[in-house]
Subunit: 458 residues, 2 copies
């Protein structure tokens, strides 16, 4: 196998070459990809069966989790493979994120400026067991015009090899270079790839928190992703009980291991003997462990509706300070009383992972203060944190979720895979020099007249 620098350089050269390929050729490549994967279904599933055999041995030996084995599996679910193929067509049907003019000015007679969206360049996508991610990312890369290097887990070695053969075979029948999509599987390649900042423009880690954090720490290349999803719900003084129950239970229970699930519940202290015990009883009935600070705990102990709850003894316990910085990823909530909306905002800004946080309130003033004051990608009023998702936002697809503060934030759709370039074109007989512009004698000012955003010049 070529070394990391060669892989990165090949990707960069493929990207450069692909810039001259028209976008309808990218559509044709997506169709070719789908057709090739349809034809190769039996081969890929056979390769996947080998990975599953190997994985079962690892699971039996206690060296692999059964969750990982399940993620690896492309065949137990009847529709998984076909859903993967449909995903290619879904991506194909989305609007082209490139070639959009987002700023245009007439600078002078016969001198035009257009800012045009374009691909970022070379993506390095690092993920764990799920082999369908290979196809998903390949489709997104082709659609957005970016070359990609995909690094999957060693657990899916055979599936990945079979898919790569099919993907590169399909690419070789298109206008895109064969090395436009490359896959690597050895874990030792990661560190060398992360140092290829000359050729790789963006790293997208999709996997465990520790994987993401180690990449964020190790690479000079910009990273788009999230290490943590520590979301909070604040139940404000004015909250209505049924809304609070509806929003908190949904935020916590619908998919506890998702990054947009709630981990912390803040309760206004005015509600400790009223709404809080009722809400807590609903949470206990939903099987949620509550780790409470002294005020919220004592309120539950002294309320008959909770202290007599069958699950009280097993699910309610005092919290420790670390609980408010913990992403539980299971049916556990850290609970804390706060004296005001301002204190809730301060707590969340200090402890949340800036992913998605929610206020349950009837007060417009507090809804506004929370929405403006919380420094997170998602600021929600009376809605479950679980809405934070690219599909739910209407993006059609999701590249990932970013808790960064630059480039793209929150759920990221195809827009997150593009940047822009400035195209300046002179049509004057002598071309355009800058020396003639200015306030001096014989010099002229810039026009800066807005131009229509419609079509990119090239």
């Amino acid at each position: 196998m070529a070394n990391a620098e060669q892989i990165a350089l090949d990707a960069k050269l493929s990207f450069d070459a692909s810039q001259l390929v028209d976008s309808h050729e990218r559509h044709k490549a997506l169709v070719a990809l789908k057709d090739a994967l349809t034809t190769a279904k039996a081969d890929i599933l056979a390769a996947n069966a080998r990975d599953i055999e190997d994985a079962k041995v690892q699971v039996a030996a206690g060296k692999m989790s059964s969750t990982l084995l399940k993620r690896l599996d492309l065949q137990s679910s009847k529709s998984k493979y076909d859903d993967m193929l449909q995903g290619i067509l879904d991506v194909d049907s989305l609007p082209d994120p490139t070639g959009q003019v987002t700023y245009a000015r007439q600078l002078d007679d016969d001198l035009e400026l257009h800012r045009v969206t374009c691909p970022i360049g070379v993506l390095l996508v690092i993920f764990e067991a799920r082999p369908e991610v290979i196809v998903n990312i390949t489709a997104l890369a082709i659609k957005s015009g970016n070359a990609a290097i995909l690094k999957g887990g060693k657990e899916s070695l055979h599936t990945q090899a079979a898919m790569t053969t099919v993907i590169q075979g399909a690419l070789s029948t298109t206008a895109l270079p064969r090395a436009y999509i490359q896959t690597v599987s050895s874990r030792s390649e990661i560190a060398s790839l992360l140092s290829q900042d000359r050729y790789i423009d963006l790293v997208i880690p999709r996997g465990s928190n520790s994987l993401v954090r180690s990449i964020q720490n190790d690479s000079r290349i910009p990273v788009m992703g999230h290490a943590d999803g520590l979301c909070a719900v604040f139940v404000d003084e004015s909250a209505v009980e049924k809304k609070a129950i509806n929003v908190v239970v949904d935020s916590k229970t619908t998919y506890p291991s998702a990054c947009n699930a709630a981990e912390t519940l803040l309760v206004h202290e005015a509600l400790l003997s009223t709404l809080w015990p009722t809400l807590a009883a609903s949470l206990l009935s939903a099987g949620i462990t509550l780790r409470c600070d002294p005020p919220t705990l004592s309120a539950l102990t002294s309320s008959p509706s909770t202290s007599s709850h069958a699950a009280f003894a097993s699910l309610v316990s005092p919290s420790s300070p670390e609980d408010y910085d913990t992403e539980f990823l299971e049916l556990t909530l850290a609970v804390k009383a706060v004296p005001s909306c301002a204190d809730a905002i301060a707590h969340i800004n200090a402890h949340s992972s800036h992913h998605t946080d929610c206020i349950v309130t009837e007060s417009d003033d507090n809804a506004r203060a929370f929405s403006r004051g919380i420094d997170s990608a998602g600021v929600y009023v009376n809605a479950s944190t679980r809405f934070a998702d690219g599909f739910r936002y209407g993006f059609g697809t999701e590249v990932g979720v970013s808790t960064g503060k630059t480039h793209a934030r929150g759920p990221v759709g195809l827009e997150g895979l593009v940047i822009y370039k400035y195209q300046v074109r002179s049509r004057a007989a002598e071309g355009h020099a800058t020396a003639v512009f200015g306030t001096g004698e014989g010099q002229r000012p810039f026009l800066h007249t807005p131009l229509p955003l419609g079509d990119a010049p090239f």
Copy 2:
């Protein structure tokens, strides 16, 4: 002085607090800043005089360049101080980059999603001697709603201290926190500040290449800036002589030490005995040193119009391979012949710093190939690379120039200092949970109806 972590934390808390401050208060803060600096003009110029005294001693001792001394000087030019004050009003008059809705969808009855632009958070701006940058960045930070930590050079110690007193005094009369703008001057603070990625969201280095490169290498915090400005002009086979001369001479001579000045000239080999000697004669007459590869050199030697030029012997010499990777920042051009537009594109993609590159051509096909194929922030047709500038693009101000491929690229205006957050609000009586959406029985689909982009909900 507080340590770096305390400075960064104070900035973060100031930013969080400022999120609840209305944007018209930011306007009032800019006016207060301008008034305070007007009143304190004599004090600040007196402090600046002390810095200049100290600097003159350093220059005399050969420990400082006279260029640095000149940059430090706020008083020799009559209008410099007043221009700085006018700059505050100019920034104030620009459109508010925050609070803009860039995506909005009705997700369900009574459930709305708005993507609203907002400040990034805490900026760390590192610059060298020019003290007016303090005021310029302060104005940009206030306008865009970002808190800022400013690290100037030790040469402007007294000026910076006097300005800081005035700026913080002005802030204390406004709704913004006093620590919203902080300045630090000790060089030893840089490394500690660059490690405060928990509190600082973006580093903007404005200074020498080595400063910028060392920051890009040392920090986990995203960096917006450019280490190099290695721009190229390609004179294509179809180029018209007067355009080529106009564009190349302007690109090279109007400000040779600027990042948007041309450093490399590529000449189509079909022009070696025709356009090239005429262009070279113009370049020699403009005092430009030409470092030529063998074909371009031998063409000049064999052409009477250049070989007989008075400056030929002193200004024309063979190039070395490193010349094509060198940002000369003076009146020197590296010149190379290329056999095709495709070769010019490949050379530029391999050697340029992805800042701004230009083709001089009469061919629409080659203009298109160049504009699409060059992976740079600016791709120009028949126009000088020196147009690459925020003011010239019509941004009203320039935060810097980015050669990065994410977030912001090319000349960066106020838009580069904002990101966005997603505001989701339910107005339904029971709030909104995700569990009711889906394709199962009794579940409903998302609407995803576009909403007007006008007003942010909060």
